[in-house]
């Protein structure tokens, strides 16, 4: 059974909390969010570098596997506010 715990440990220690309504790991201070699928499908190294990636914008940085439509991205940012 592949364990999620190694990846979630990375997210926990970087201050990300799983939101089951959005199915995303969210850090409000860093203004970054990772979809569950993104965490599930990518190796730890990719997740670690995504966590490290600085958010230079004042806006939310959202990581998903599939590209989002503009409307979807706007809606996610709206509900995360």
């Amino acid at each position: 059974m592949p364990r999620q715990s190694e990846k979630t440990h990375l997210l926990d220690s970087a201050g990300y909390v799983y939101n089951f309504e959005r199915m995303m790991y969210i850090n409000r201070q860093a203004k970054k969010a990772f979809s569950y699928e993104y965490i599930d499908d990518n190796p730890e190294s990719v997740i670690a570098s995504s966590i490290q990636e600085p958010n230079k914008k004042q806006d939310w940085l959202i990581y998903t596997n599939l590209p989002m439509s503009e409307g979807t991205e706007q809606e996610i940012k709206r509900v995360l506010q």
Partner: protein, 234 residues
């Protein structure tokens, strides 16, 4: 006047579809029960076969569509892309069989009747198959059902009237123990609060532990029955 939301639009579609969904669920259940009579008639006292049908409830259906998008949100700029008929499990029938050897027999028998439905087996975290699952479509007829050998991969029943609407359905075959666990897990937890459905992925390891325990119980039970039967025949 308040703006009409995507949820409003989908609720209206649900209410319109509901009578047809209910009829299709009953029809599919009855059909499956009929096809399974050769097995049901010969069950041993400790064996069981249970067929249950359900129509996905309105909130769960809308919630599932919403969850199909990143972040679990609707794209409010494009309400036209959302349609409840895109959900493959709007109508579902679950066959629960005990012991698991009976589930295999059920699958073989139903494949003879639903050979063109698309297989989509349910697997646990290790890729092991937990249940058989097949998807197809019905086109409902108020008067009678005409089976058409249409080119698509499903049974099709042409409507008596002019309008034709395909209803997506699925049937699953699962061991009784796991099926009953799903009943509790889904009905008692997620159905009361569809927003808790997002807990499912993070509960994966614990859920897998339950499957292992139930499978071990079932395997040992079957082994003991076999030992007992072979000693009776000696």
């Amino acid at each position: 006047m308040a703006e009409r939301t995507i949820e409003d639009q989908l609720r209206e579609q649900y209410v319109t579809l509901l009578p047809e969904l209910t009829r299709v669920a009953e029809h599919l259940k009855t059909q499956i029960e009929y096809f399974l009579l050769p097995i049901a008639r010969h069950l041993k006292p400790h064996e069981s076969l249970l067929v249950k049908a359900r129509v996905k409830d309105c909130n769960s259906a809308i919630d599932k569509l919403r969850r199909g998008n990143p972040g679990g949100v609707f794209d409010r700029n494009h309400p036209e892309i959302y349609n409840l008929l895109s959900l493959r499990d709007l109508v579902g029938v679950r066959v629960m069989a005990f012991p698991s050897g009976r589930a295999m027999e059920v699958d073989r028998l139903l494949r003879l009747e639903f050979g063109d439905w698309i297989a989509d087996p349910i697997r646990d975290g290790t890729g092991k198959q937990l249940a058989f699952k097949y998807n197809g479509q019905y086109t409902q007829s108020p008067m009678h059902w005409i089976r058409s050998l249409a080119a698509d991969l499903a049974f099709k029943y042409r409507r008596y009237t002019e309008s034709v609407e395909d209803i997506p359905c699925e049937y699953q075959i699962v061991s009784t123990l796991i099926g009953l666990f799903w009943d509790i897990e889904h009905a008692a937890i997620y159905k009361q609060a569809p927003n808790l459905k997002g807990l499912e992925p993070v509960m994966r390891e614990q859920t897998y532990a339950v499957y292992l325990a139930l499978k071990a119980f079932e395997d040992e039970f079957e082994r003991q029955i076999q030992i007992s039967e072979s000693s009776t025949h000696d």
